[in-house]
Structure formats: C-alpha cells, structure tokens
C-alpha cells in the first residue's frame, strides 16, 4: 500500500517537474512561435542564482524568490538583442538560440568554473511505512501547481493577459487597436524566461548544479512543448501529464532507460497522429 502511494507521489513529482520546466518555453512558443533552445540555459542560470545567493547568505528560499527576476532580466536582454530580429523564422531561431545556449554554457564555465558547491535539499524527509519520502518533492509539486495557476490567472483575469491572448490570436488586429505587438512579445519572452529561472531555482537543491545542467532538460522540454502544441495550458499540461507520466511509470516498473525510450516513442506517436501537437486536435492555428 505504501509502495503504491510512494510511487504515485513519484509519478506526480515527475509530471510536476516536467510541467514547471516546460511552462516557460510553452509561453514563448505559444505566443511567438519561437523555439528557444537556450531555455535549458535559462533554467541553469536560475539554478546558479540559488547557488550564488545561498553562498552569500540569502539562503535557498531567498534564491528561489530572486531567480525569476534575475533570469527574466537576462531574457529581456536576449530578446532585444537577438530574438527580436528572427520572428517568423522558426528554424533560424532554433539555430540562433542553439548557438546562444553554447555561448552561455561556455561563459558560465569560464566565470564560475565547472564545479561549484551546491545546496543540499532542504525540508528533510518523512517516513511512509518502510519508505522515506523527501518532503522537498512535495514542495516541487506545489510550486508547479501554483505557477500554472498564477500564469493561468495572469492570462485570463488581467488586462495584460487579455492583450497577450489577443496578440496570440491576431497580432495585426491588436496593432490596429493601437497596441505595439513587439512590446507584448518582449514582455512574454521575459515572462517565459522568468518562469525558466524559477524552475531552475526550484530544481537546484535536487541535482548537481553544473554549467551543462540545461542540456539534461532541453531535449525533454523541447519535445513536451512540441507535443503539446500551441495551446499553453491544455497542450503543455496535457503533454506534461502524458509524457511525464509515461516516463516515470515505466521507470518505476522497469528501469530509467526504458522510461526515456517509452517517452520518446510516445512523443513520436502523438506527433504522427497530431502534427500540430495535442492542442492541434481542438485548435486551429492561423
């Protein structure tokens, strides 16, 4: 019985972390059709924010609060200098952001060195029968839920959200109504970067933080977002639940290797059936 409960928490954790990590890219892709392959590095920068802030006395939690602002600002700079020129050129943005990701990894390695002392996982563990569960995993699940709820509320209940959704559907109409779409793009890219920073910060106490951290996540996040399609919530949530669930369930049943293969195989299958991603099943993209 405990085994089942612990396994379910494990699956929920895997889904939650995948959704949290993918939320930023989902917004960027859903809004602007930009596939930002440097998203992994934005996640890594969020993790390093926590490392550096805890080394300077702000603690893990201070770092987690700080990270979205720091990485959001970095995202803003990236958008102004590079992404802004490449809207509409999907494959070109993929290539440019891939180059950016290489450059960021190298810059961090040169600045901070390849190994830095990390942060231990806070909150300890709780015993469930014979098994021990890290309490921080529950925090991650909560953080993912809160982030999704926050972004959903932002998009559906605020003026900014209304304008953003309008720009997603028809940028020309929004321009005709007197709002400058490039400003909206800038804001949403910054938002997507901030979310990536938050995800990285939350994940920092769980893994070894090294400059190549982003590379571990980018493939999964990229595939989740393309399988999810353009709809941010339905698509990404659906893809996160589906792919994250499959990968962790198979990992628990057999080994992590088959978990990864199963996830990738299912991604291929979904893409074959619905080339626009899951959200393409109920949405038309103009």
């Amino acid at each position: 019985m405990e085994f089942l409960f612990v396994t379910l928490i494990g699956v929920a954790f895997a889904i939650a972390s995948l959704v949290l990590l993918s939320l930023g890219l989902a917004i960027i892709y859903g809004m602007m059709g930009v596939i930002n392959l440097a998203q992994g590095e934005l996640i890594m920068l969020g993790a390093y924010t926590v490392i550096l802030s805890s080394a300077h006395g702000l603690g893990v939690w201070g770092g987690i609060v700080l990270a979205p602002f720091v990485v959001g600002a970095i995202g803003l700079v990236i958008e102004r200098c590079i992404i802004r020129f490449l809207y509409g050129r999907l494959l070109d943005t993929m290539l440019a952001t891939w180059g950016l990701s290489l450059a960021i990894i190298a810059a961090v390695t040169l600045a901070l060195g390849p190994t830095t002392e990390g942060v231990a996982t806070p909150l300890g563990h709780v015993a469930i029968g014979d098994y021990a569960l890290s309490v921080y995993n529950l925090f991650v699940i909560a953080a993912a839920a809160v982030s999704v709820a926050f972004v959903w509320a932002l998009f559906n209940f605020t003026k900014f959200g209304l304008i953003a959704r309008g720009t997603m559907q028809n940028a020309d109409m929004v321009a005709a109504l007197g709002i400058h779409p490039p400003t909206i793009y800038m804001a949403t890219f910054a938002l997507g970067s901030a979310l990536a920073g938050l995800a990285g910060a939350v994940m920092a106490p769980l893994t070894g933080v090294v400059p190549s951290l982003g590379l571990a996540y980018i493939a999964k996040v990229f595939i989740t977002v393309t399988v999810g399609g353009a709809a941010i919530f339905g698509g990404t949530l659906g893809a996160g639940v589906f792919l994250g669930g499959i990968e962790s369930a198979v990992s628990f049943i057999s080994t992590p290797i088959y978990g990864q293969v199963a996830m990738l195989g299912c991604a291929l299958l979904v893409l074959r059936i619905a080339p626009q991603g899951i959200s393409g099943l109920w949405r038309r993209r103009g």
Partner: protein, 226 residues
C-alpha cells in the same frame, strides 16, 4: 565487482544501468528502499548523476546504507555536494590531495603557486596524467631517442617513478602501472580522509592474461569472467 563479491561471500541484491542524462533518480531510490542493501556500489559519472547522491541523502538513506564508489570524486562531486550529503562515501584511488608524503607536499604547493591558492581540489586524474608524462620522459631519456619502438623498449625495461601518490612501477608485460592505492572516505571539508593505504598493488587479473612480450600487437580489452 561481481567476481570479488563472489569471492568474499557477498550477495548481489540489485543492479541498474542509468543513462547519462538522467537527473531524476526517484525510481532507483525507491527500488533501493525496497531491496534494503547494506552497501550501494556506485559507478555513476557525469554532472547529471550527482543528483543521485543529493536525492539519496534527501530521502534520508545515508543512515541506512553506505555508498562505496569507484568513480565518485573524479568530477569533484565532493565539492558540488554539501558535506552533510557526501560525508562518509567510501572511495579508493591511487592519489588524494591529502596524502602525507614529501613529494606530494611539494607538488601541491607548486600546483597552488601555478594555478592559484583557491584551486578547488586536485583529483586523481591530474596525478595520473603527471605520472604518464614523466614515465614517457624517463623512457625517452633512457632510450636517447623519440623513435616509437625504442621508447617502448625503454618503457618495458621496468621503470620506477616517485610520484605524488607514492612510488609507482611500470609492469613490463601488461603495460599497466603498479600503484600505491589508498582507501578513503569523504570528510566534511569537501575533501577526503584517508583510512588505509596499500602499497604496490599489482593489476593482478590483467597480468594473468596479458603478456605483451609474447604478443606485442595484441589489442584486446580484457574483462573478468564471472
């Protein structure tokens, strides 16, 4: 590993291979909790696998099981992990920065002077490279030539070198090095405390099967049978 386990009467309760880019070790940790081993032997490598040690400690398993590893430390994992997470992990290498001999003391001082006194930690890999180059240089000086065959002949004449790890010797037949090996565990200063030292450890199983005098062109990778 399986060979030695069998010889000493141990029992293998589980075995897992992890892809290099896995960061989520939940399923592995759960299986560990179910199997309840006394010792976990870790051969994990790479930046992503550091996550295992972190998640292992977070699940509170450090009190229940000891981790022994033949790969931990080569990537300065004990620097990335906080002391309370890594303390007590048992490793075994020919070289540790903490070794107490005069050659090592001079070497570490010279290293710090060249690369800065805040240099993180000198790993066994650094010493291995140092050994390799010096053995080659000794052979070239002995052969008085850079010609490949002459240098190999000089290398095969049984060279000894005072390395920072202790005295090492090149075994002529297997082309392997006879090391001084030290058993250590991670301490609370992002380094290691040495528990026991073994001098002149020969690569016994390779020496049994590999004779490069008799078969100089052999290039086969030997693995122990179990």
């Amino acid at each position: 590993m399986k060979v030695y386990l069998k010889q000493t009467g141990g029992e293998l309760v589980g075995e897992e291979f992890i892809p290099l880019d896995v960061v989520n070790f939940d399923s592995v940790i759960q299986r560990l909790q179910a199997a309840k081993p006394d010792v976990v032997m870790s051969l994990l490598v790479g930046g992503n696998h550091i996550a295992f040690y972190r998640q292992f400690a977070a699940a509170g398993l450090k009190d229940r099981m000891t981790i022994a590893s033949a790969t931990f430390g080569l990537g300065n994992e004990q620097v990335v992990l906080k002391p309370q997470e890594a303390e007590g992990i048992v490793v075994i290498y020919p070289y540790f920065q903490e070794l107490d001999n005069s050659v090592n003391k001079d070497w570490v001082a010279a290293w710090r002077k060249r690369f800065g006194s805040s240099y993180t930690y000198i790993t066994d890999s650094a010493c291995t490279v140092w050994n390799g180059w010096h053995l080659w240089a000794m052979a070239v000086n002995k052969a008085q030539s850079l010609d490949r065959d002459k240098v190999i002949a000089a290398l095969e004449s049984g060279l000894t070198f005072e390395s920072p790890e202790g005295s090492i010797r090149l075994d002529p037949k297997s082309h392997h090095v006879v090391h001084s090996v030290h058993l250590a565990k991670v301490n609370d200063k992002n380094g290691f405390s040495i528990m026991e030292s073994f001098a002149n450890v020969e690569p016994a199983d390779t020496m049994k099967v590999c004779d490069l005098f008799a078969n100089p062109n052999e290039h086969k990778q030997y693995t122990p049978k179990y």
